[in-house]
């Protein structure tokens, strides 16, 4: 699949303030390339959710503008933007409303105007993927938190949006649910979909995101490739972000010849093994 527009999202001098609240965004400029996998990190209240809610029109700029696939969001309704930007809420209950799990998941593709056959195929596939086949006829409201979370994932998944915004998608999921989700998100990304992942989980960031945006009090503190950010200890400290254990271990073992930049277990394992063989050979 290929998409004609690049960048996927452009944010120009974006300011936003909630009623009676403090300034939530203060002059954000950002460009997200089509096909990018961007993690958005920062403390609670740093403006992460406020920023991404501008991408699908749930919030409108107080000042500045936001372009999605080259078009100003000011000229588009939330419904129009939903065709381009899939948004997974932080709290599953903010997007669950249908009487059954099946209807909940079918709603999105049906709303996009697909044939009933296509709607049924996508719904079946999404339910199977998130292991919800047995719950198709169940009212979502009575399911436990983890399962409600999976229903909302399936519902967004069935729409296959060009841009997918995931706001803390792994909260409330167990390890297996997290693995399934990230595998599917990675698949979508490799087909050219743009992924924007809001998270506190630095292990996820290290393993999956190619770029990271660090927000601090409504401003951009850093924006760049993941590996590069993980070397910038002052910025990590300022944003109260901790390195994943494997990166911290690689850093500690620099005196033994490791470069200290491992983002995943596999990277660490390969570098360590190569280094040890080198030592034994020499």
């Amino acid at each position: 699949m290929s998409f004609e527009h690049s960048p996927a999202i452009e944010v120009e001098d974006l300011w936003y303030r909630y009623d009676d609240g403090p300034l939530a965004l203060a002059g954000v400029n950002l460009s997200v390339e089509a096909g990018e996998f961007l993690a958005v990190v920062g403390q609670n209240g740093s403006g992460k959710t406020t920023l991404v809610k501008h991408f699908n029109g749930l919030l409108r700029p107080a000042r500045g503008r936001v372009l999605v696939l080259g078009q100003d969001t000011a000229d588009q309704s939330v419904g129009q933007l939903a065709r381009k930007v899939g948004y997974l809420f932080q709290n599953p209950d903010h997007q669950i409303f249908a009487p059954t799990v099946w209807e909940e998941v079918a709603f999105g593709p049906r709303n996009l105007g697909f044939s009933e056959g296509e709607v049924a195929d996508r719904t079946t596939e999404a339910l199977a993927l998130f292991e919800l086949g047995d719950q198709a006829g169940t009212p979502p409201a009575i399911l436990g938190y983890g399962l409600r979370r999976q229903v909302t994932l399936a519902a967004v998944w069935a729409m296959r949006p060009q841009i997918l915004v995931l706001d803390e998608p792994t909260v409330g999921l167990d390890w297996r649910g997290t693995c399934t989700l990230m595998e599917e998100v990675t698949n979508l990304n490799s087909q050219g979909h743009t992924i924007i992942l809001v998270t506190h989980d630095m292990k996820l960031v290290a393993e999956f995101a190619r770029k990271v945006l660090v927000l601090d009090e409504g401003r951009i503190l850093a924006h760049g490739p993941t590996r590069q950010l993980f070397q910038q200890e002052a910025i990590l400290r300022q944003a109260f972000l901790a390195l994943p254990p494997i990166t911290a271990l690689a850093r500690r073992m620099q005196p033994y010849g490791l470069r200290g930049g491992s983002l995943t277990l596999e990277e660490f394992y390969q570098e360590y093994t190569a280094l040890r063989q080198l030592g034994q050979g020499g």
């Binding site: 297996r176 506190h200 033994y256 360590y272």
Partner: protein
């Protein structure tokens, strides 16, 4: 042994969804004891019954939701068959997974005051507790704000403050730090640890993050399909990498690394922390330049 939480052969089924339907069994024979002052982590895959078990500990189940409960639950000497959640909640502070389900007042400070009003405290003591609880969860500047205006993480911290202010003997925390930033996680967990250490509070915490469990919990219980399937110290439990993965659960990244080495190279590493991994792995390498 001073067991403040005693759960014996506990079976619980939610009432049928539709009249005449089948009840929904969730807990299928749970035996659990928690010592006074212990920090117990409860882990398990989605649907294992963790939240249901938490709700039985202060009597919400079966008193408010019906269903059938067999076996018994005794917390701080009170049997939940004889005491409803109104009485139990003075001794058992429960923080729900979804903070919004327990926030309903007009302002942040009213939210914290609400539970305290039933305790008969003097105005100054009440004020002191409200200020302390909000300070602990880093929300002191937001006292007059409506809970609805708070971010997800702030709501979570407020829900925790409402329970902390009651100073219960047993804290039951259902994923209390999920969705919080690293600083918020550390602050909440260090407060919980402080309550445990200084006031002998007992903690039962549902948590999926193995790193947090490793760092904070004294003991871990793994729950699956309505049963307890494994228990031990975090070190014992997280060395069972294949069993935990089989149940769909994570281990610490360092246990994962040990497992990777053992699988690929037939080593028998059992490190669980960064320190241990560093000593175990550095032995095979040479300090550069020496």
């Amino acid at each position: 042994m001073d067991d403040i939480v005693i759960v014996e052969d506990l079976h619980y089924a939610y009432p049928p969804l539709t009249p005449g339907g089948e009840p929904l069994p969730v807990l299928k024979g749970v035996d659990l004891r928690v010592r006074r002052g212990e920090f117990l982590a409860l882990m398990g895959p989605t649907g294992a019954g963790k939240t249901t078990l938490c709700l039985t500990l202060n009597g919400i189940l079966p008193h408010l939701r019906g269903g059938t409960l067999e076996g018994r639950v005794v917390v701080a000497g009170m049997d939940t068959r004889d005491h409803g959640p109104g009485q139990m909640s003075r001794q058992v502070g429960l923080v729900f997974q979804d903070p919004e389900s327990q926030l309903f007042n007009m302002t942040v400070e009213d939210e914290v005051a609400f539970g305290l009003e039933s305790l008969g405290l003097s105005p100054s003591e009440m004020e002191e507790r409200i200020a302390w609880a909000l300070e602990v969860v880093r929300l002191p500047g937001l006292r007059k704000r409506s809970p609805l205006q708070l971010s997800g993480g702030q709501k979570k911290r407020l829900a925790i403050a409402t329970v902390l202010a009651m100073r219960p003997q047993v804290l039951v925390l259902d994923e209390p730090v999920t969705g919080l930033d690293p600083l918020g996680r550390h602050e909440v967990l260090s407060v919980v640890e402080e309550l445990k250490r200084e006031e002998e509070a007992t903690v039962v915490m549902v948590e999926q993050d193995a790193e947090a469990v490793m760092a904070w919990a004294d003991r871990v219980v793994i729950m699956e399909g309505g049963h307890l399937v494994l228990e031990g110290s975090p070190r014992q439990v997280f060395s069972q990498v294949e069993s935990l993965h089989g149940w769909g659960l994570a281990v610490t990244q360092m246990s994962e690394l040990a497992h990777l080495f053992n699988r690929q190279q037939g080593t028998s590493f059992h490190f669980i922390t960064e320190d241990e991994a560093c000593s175990a792995l550095a032995g095979e390498l040479h300090v550069q330049g020496s």
